[in-house]
Subunit: 308 residues, 2 copies
């Protein structure tokens, strides 16, 4: 399972003087004498897992392949600089597909000032795989890591959650500008982007910080899509369940000291709403508190790559 | 076809102030104010194309995934710094496979001082794909590009060619140290590593330089494996044909001014032999000259990813 492999890599990967931050965060941070810290991140998307090529415009797939990496840089409050693209194309229709992927990716690259510097193009008798690697730089506020949350910090999120599968997972706006604005104007202790699911990514952040987190369930902002998905599924699931576990919202979860959080929430400096959905606590684990104040454990749910 | 896609990208990719060198070389070169130029390269390998997982130790595959990227940095005369690894694993046996890949990759990373900074691990119901992205830095001599060869320059190669499929394509030593030694001690006009095939990669270099190249066929150093492959195939092919077109030798082709080439060939500063196999000429195209001095066109052959 993915988490087991990460545990193996944490034990196995040697430390290196250049690695300010290695495996286990949204991106790695490289330190070099006489240069700004450099942030490096890679994501690889595949047909039938991250998208269904038969059902979507491949331009949206190309856009997503870059956007998920931009979201990783946003989670580090890093500024995107440049990237490379590696493709494995099916042999039939590969040329047209490759062009469509780039026609979806390049406008987003331009929007965020990312120099697409090169790549590697392969073909095989198999489904599409797209890998994008981005280089970014940290701002004077430093990288926003997962491990800095303190008990008492507020859990502040951008945007709304749930039902991403209805389209948001392809068309979301990575929170790059938002992260840079917040990192400049406020003291942030920690951050992560929601790729696997609000509850599981919050659990990741809390665990990296050596603390726990309590969510006020009623405070979680629900996306319209969460309601639409409930209607469509008709399986008795609730919008809250989707908001907590659906994944690919690509919103930010931030750990913000209480007074900073109060100021941030009052000022609402972004176009997208900022909401406090709870707080970090000393006791490890994930907790939920309902409107009557009762606290009980919350099982973190979300997407994990399964393999044996 | 791969070359068509590269042509499309060259037209389509916008210029960017940070891009000192973009698509079309062995790696991209990024320029940032106040920092050394940074080199970025990615390669994605897949089962049944770049290796046959059923037939080889996966540690050799993991090693190769890093080694091909190191070879790209060698072709730029750049020093490797750090890398990230993206995997798509088959669901069955994925964990064991991932560990074996890393156990093959990490000793090579250590050997070359590469900080493995992170990665992305995915799974699917499909074959293995491995992507490695490396960051490097150029030396004071600057990046060794494809486009700098001048008519009259000698074509100097490291090592020997042909028959790589018999094992060398998995176990080759990337010519990183060799490239750095040569770039420091001699004036080099251009360079490329032989991934697709000696003749086709030489043609790439000549084309980028706006000139042609004439190979003295008898001067091409033949690997033992080229002879063994001829014996094994028994199809009437010759060792020279394999040396010119087999691909994955991962040796260097260099364009060296004549006097520098004479000095380099006399001094033989490397553990691996340096050989002059011809010269760059004004007339575009690839040419061969046999022992009797007759010149005729040489068809560049090698591996190209085919897709339509």
């Amino acid at each position: 399972m993915e988490s087991e492999l990460i545990a193996y890599l944490r034990r196995r990967l040697p430390s290196h003087p250049m690695l300010r931050l290695g495996i286990g965060d949204d991106a790695a941070v490289l330190r070099r004498a006489g240069a700004d810290d450099c942030v490096l991140t890679v994501d690889l998307l595949t047909d039938h897992v991250d998208f269904e090529l038969a059902e979507v415009d491949p331009r949206r797939v190309g856009r997503k392949a870059l956007a998920v990496n931009l979201s990783d840089l946003a989670a580090m409050a890093a500024e995107p600089l440049a990237g490379v693209v590696a493709l494995v194309l099916p042999r039939q229709g590969g040329m047209e597909l490759a062009v469509a992927l780039y026609e979806g990716l390049l406008p987003l690259a331009e929007q965020y000032g990312v120099a697409i510097a090169g790549g590697d193009t392969n073909s095989w008798d198999g489904p599409l795989a797209v890998s994008v690697t981005l280089v970014g730089k940290v701002t004077p506020a430093g990288p926003l890591v997962r491990g800095g949350a303190l008990p008492g910090d507020r859990i502040v999120v951008t945007g709304a959650f749930g039902g991403s599968i209805l389209g948001h997972h392809l068309d979301f706006e990575p929170r790059v500008a938002e992260a840079l604005t917040l990192a400049e104007a406020y003291e942030l202790h920690a951050g992560i982007d929601v790729s696997d699911g609000l509850s599981i990514d919050l659990a990741h952040l809390a665990e990296e910080s050596g603390c726990g987190a309590t969510i006020e369930i009623e405070a979680v902002p629900l996306a319209d899509a969460a309601f639409r998905l409930v209607d469509r599924l008709g399986d008795g699931s609730t919008p809250w369940e989707h908001a907590l576990s659906d994944g690919e919202d690509f919103e930010l979860i931030l750990a913000v000291p209480p007074e900073e959080a109060d100021r941030m929430l009052a000022e609402q400096p972004l176009d997208v709403p900022l909401t406090s959905i709870g707080r970090f606590v000393e006791e490890p684990g994930l907790w939920q508190r309902d409107a009557r104040g009762a606290r009980r454990p919350l099982v973190a749910r979300g997407y994990q790559h399964e393999f044996e």
